[in-house]
Structure formats: structure tokens, C-alpha cells
């Protein structure tokens, strides 16, 4: 019988908790935990960001996040996977997304985490709006990444 790694996906307005995610992943009692955090970058080229804000097609985003976690679980030897995305305003240096993978050995943790953030950016229906220091505001996403 194939073991299916426990998966937790969530979308919330509140700040994301690294502690909570770590605790969930640590329960796997594996040898490695890899967590990627996507944060609001302050400087991009010559533009200064004041904050980002995110909007989600909630029901579909949760299903897509779970689908990606299921795929990662079948491609790599993972014990637990957690994907958390924040909506609403995300100030500079705050995390908009946390992706965590617990594994027996470290290699698959890095690989699965990389896969999950790359795929999230392509297929999960969430949009970011960039609010710049000069007052200008832009929705990001001119073209599909795939």
C-alpha cells in the first residue's frame, strides 16, 4: 500500500506562522525539513515597494495547492508537506507563502520544495498587486509563465 504523506494547505489573511508549519512538519520525525518562504521584496530594479497585496480564487487555489502537494508526494520520498499562502496586505519582508517539506533524507526536501514553489507560481489562482512608494499600483502578471 502506497503511503501518502499528510498534507496541509491553507490560505489566510493573518501573518503566516513559521513555528506552526515547522511543528506540523517535525511530527514526521524524518531527517530533514526544508521550508521556502516567499517574501515581499523592497527593491526591484529602480522601483521601491511599499507593500504587496494578494487576492485568491480561494476554493480553486486550495484544490490546486493540494493537487501539487499530491504530485510532489508521489514524485519524491516525502513524509509531510505544508503549503500556506497569505491574502490581503503583505508588508515588506513578510512572507506571502510558506512551503514546507519533511523527508527522511535531505535531497528530496529541497527538490520537492523547489518543485512546489515553481508550480504554485504557474498554476495556483492567486494574484499579487504591487503598491510602490511613489503611489503607483500595479497588478502583476502580464503573461502566463507556462
Amino acid at each position: 500500500m502506497k503511503f501518502t504523506a499528510p498534507i496541509h494547505v491553507g490560505i489566510q489573511d493573518e501573518p503566516l506562522s513559521l513555528d506552526h508549519l515547522w511543528h506540523f512538519l517535525a511530527q514526521a520525525q524524518g531527517g530533514g525539513i526544508a521550508i521556502f518562504g516567499g517574501t515581499t521584496r523592497r527593491i526591484t530594479g529602480d522601483r521601491v515597494t511599499r507593500e504587496l497585496s494578494y487576492e485568491a480564487h480561494h476554493s480553486m487555489a486550495l484544490k490546486e495547492m493540494r493537487r501539487l502537494a499530491d504530485e510532489a508526494s508521489s514524485r519524491w520520498d516525502t513524509l509531510r508537506i505544508g503549503i500556506l499562502h497569505r491574502t490581503g496586505v503583505v508588508p515588506v519582508s513578510d512572507a506571502s507563502v510558506l512551503i514546507g517539506v519533511a523527508t527522511r533524507h535531505r535531497g528530496p526536501a529541497f527538490e520537492a520544495a523547489r518543485f512546489l514553489i515553481d508550480e504554485l507560481k504557474v498554476s495556483v489562482p492567486i494574484w499579487k498587486k504591487e503598491h510602490f512608494e511613489d503611489g503607483s499600483v500595479e497588478w502583476q502578471g502580464d503573461a502566463w509563465l507556462r
Partner: protein, 81 residues
């Protein structure tokens, strides 16, 4: 038949609402729906090359037959994470 339309982000801001009902002929497909919406909304017409559809929370390919009660989301390029 009646389907529910949902829009988000820039498209939601341009149209001024996030969801509404559309009445379609029985047997209509998603291409026909998109054509009807493009004719009525300049923003949908303009953004049409980059709009992808999701039907009942799943990505949809072209010309999917619709059913009464379907929820069709018009999605512009995503930018999560």
C-alpha cells in the same frame, strides 16, 4: 441554462464586480460564453488573449461544453507566491 461567472484581480476591478449570472442556450460551450462576454465587456475583449478559464475550480481547455449551474472563472495570468 444559467452559469455563474467569477472574475478576480485586474479584471474584477475593471468590470466593477466579482461575480454575476449569465444565461446561455442549452449546449453552449465555453468558447461561445467567452465570445458573448467579450461582446459585452471591453475589458474581457481586450484581455481575451491572456484569459484562461476554470470551470468548477478546475482549469479548462478550449471549447468545454457547459452545464446548468456551472461556475466559470475568467482568470488572468496568475502571480501568487
Amino acid at each position: 441554462m444559467t452559469v455563474t461567472i467569477r472574475v478576480f484581480a485586474s479584471l474584477r476591478e475593471e468590470i466593477g464586480r466579482s461575480t454575476w449570472q449569465e444565461t446561455l442556450a442549452e449546449g453552449s460551450d465555453s468558447d461561445a460564453l467567452l465570445a458573448a462576454l467579450s461582446a459585452r465587456h471591453e475589458s474581457i475583449s481586450r484581455l481575451r488573449p491572456s484569459i484562461r478559464l476554470a470551470i468548477n475550480d478546475q482549469w479548462a481547455s478550449a471549447a468545454v461544453r457547459l452545464s446548468d449551474g456551472d461556475e466559470v472563472a475568467l482568470l488572468t495570468p496568475v502571480s501568487g507566491g
